[in-house]
């Protein structure tokens, strides 16, 4: 089993609104996956479906080869940190660890205690009195101490200050280096992606816009700048994702598997951040103008 998460036309409807629609993904094991998109795009819905908190309205989802939430053994394979990292404010850190030990047969108590000690936290402190960053670290400890094969994090750093954010990612990367775990990290912040993720999924308006290995995505996207040109004059193998024109100059972001040989263009590499922003912008424009939906890029 080489896929951590597999969905096929997965959809979730609330009343009349589709929070997630027609989502088809194959996320390989062993990667750190960035799940990016604006608020309301369906990231939380996808993660909640993966962990079995909700059930699909249409389509299928399989995690680690089985149905999500299908009994305690499946739940034990997945670690989850929800948005805003909820904890029991009135319980101490050590009571949270006890909860972990009581409710998880795969609990590694030594790992949990070591991590709390490394973080410099007093186990007798109630989690309600911790800072946001500290609480996020405790939540991450709870998720990883059950030794999951798949770790899902819903916007864990969104509400943290830059230092807390850095410390959280340091801790997370250390966990990835130490354990054989697939991580899916959702975020509406595009920064920090390139250093941390090696697989990317862009989710906008409840649809998957882009999905693939970061290296492959960066190799197949280029920024072209040169004299003003009509983008429709480009060969069919080059798909324009984003374009901007002045009276003299055109700048395009294109996807192309073949190298760009036209000498009229100055070709520069694209950063992951620019790539994500371009696809998010394209999706938003497509939503505003009634156009045929863009095909999903793999």
């Amino acid at each position: 089993m080489t896929t951590a998460l597999e969905t096929n036309e997965l959809g979730k409807q609330y009343g009349r609104r589709w929070a997630l629609h027609d989502c088809t993904l194959t996320i390989p094991k062993g990667k750190v996956v960035g799940l990016v998109g604006p608020n309301g795009a369906g990231k939380t819905t996808l993660l909640h479906l993966a962990v079995g908190l909700i059930t699909p309205t249409s389509g299928t989802i399989r995690v680690l080869g089985g149905r999500p939430g299908d009994g305690p053994s499946k739940l034990a394979q997945m670690g989850f940190v929800a948005q805003a990292t909820p904890t029991y404010a009135g319980l101490s850190i050590s009571n949270h660890l006890r909860m972990g030990a009581w409710l998880n047969p795969t609990w590694d108590g030594d790992l949990a205690r070591r991590r709390i000690e490394q973080l410099g936290l007093d186990p007798r402190q109630k989690t309600g009195s911790l800072s946001g960053g500290q609480r996020a670290q405790v939540a991450l400890t709870l998720a990883i101490a059950k030794r999951p094969d798949l770790l899902l994090l819903d916007e864990p750093v969104a509400a943290l200050d830059p230092l807390a954010r850095r410390e959280f990612l340091q801790g997370l990367m250390e966990i990835v280096a130490e354990h054989d775990v697939t991580v899916v990290l959702s975020s509406h912040l595009v920064a920090d992606l390139e250093r941390v993720c090696d697989y990317l999924v862009v989710l906008v308006t409840s649809h998957v816009q882009l999905a693939g290995d970061v290296d492959k995505l960066l190799a197949s996207h280029h920024r072209l700048s040169g004299l003003r040109r009509d983008p429709r004059s480009l060969p069919a193998s080059q798909h324009v994702i984003e374009e901007s024109h002045t009276d003299r100059q055109s700048t395009l972001l294109v996807r192309s598997d073949a190298p760009i040989l036209d000498p009229a263009w100055t070709v520069t590499p694209v950063t992951l951040d620019d790539l994500v922003l371009a696809y998010m912008g394209q999706a938003r424009d497509a939503e505003r103008a009634p156009q045929p939906r863009m095909s999903v890029i793999r």
Binding site: V32, R166, L169, Q170, G171, L172, M173, E174, V176, A177, E178, D192, E194, R195, V196, C197, D198, H222, P259, I260, L261, P263, W265, T266, V267, P269, T271
Partner: protein
């Protein structure tokens, strides 16, 4: 032990930055054969980067014959990079100075020369697709 820095704004891939920093350290004598490179875990705990990036860099260095992993112990330097000898460096400095003089005489300013330099470096050392 060597400590790595990552410049996310430079446009250079993270793993390449690590490879270059190891090369530089070898040339400057900060790293010698027998020294251990920091474990991926240590590197990412400080830099918050994907551990696969570090492993990729170390694999590249292994392919270049500069380092070797020892199972259960870590990755160790096995060869040093010969520093370029001063005579060669002076020879190329002289050539470049002559070139700069003739460029200036032809009317090129500092910005022109910098643009030419950057394009040439990119074409030579980094795989550009153009």
């Amino acid at each position: 032990m060597i400590e790595f820095q990552i410049d996310t704004g430079s446009g250079v891939a993270t793993y390449l930055q690590i490879v270059h920093q190891v090369h530089q350290a070898l040339q400057l004598g900060l790293l010698e054969p027998g020294d251990q490179l920091p474990t991926a875990q240590k590197v990412v705990a400080k830099l918050a980067i994907n551990p696969n990036t570090v492993l990729k860099a170390y694999r590249d260095l292994e392919r270049e014959g500069l380092v070797q992993p020892r199972p259960g112990m870590g990755t160790f330097v096995i060869r040093s990079l010969p520093g370029t000898d001063p005579a060669t460096l002076n020879r190329f400095l002289a050539t470049l100075t002559k070139w700069l003089d003739s460029a200036r005489a032809a009317g090129l300013g500092v910005d022109d020369i910098e643009a030419i330099y950057r394009t040439a470096i990119r074409n030579c050392f980094f795989e550009a697709v153009a």
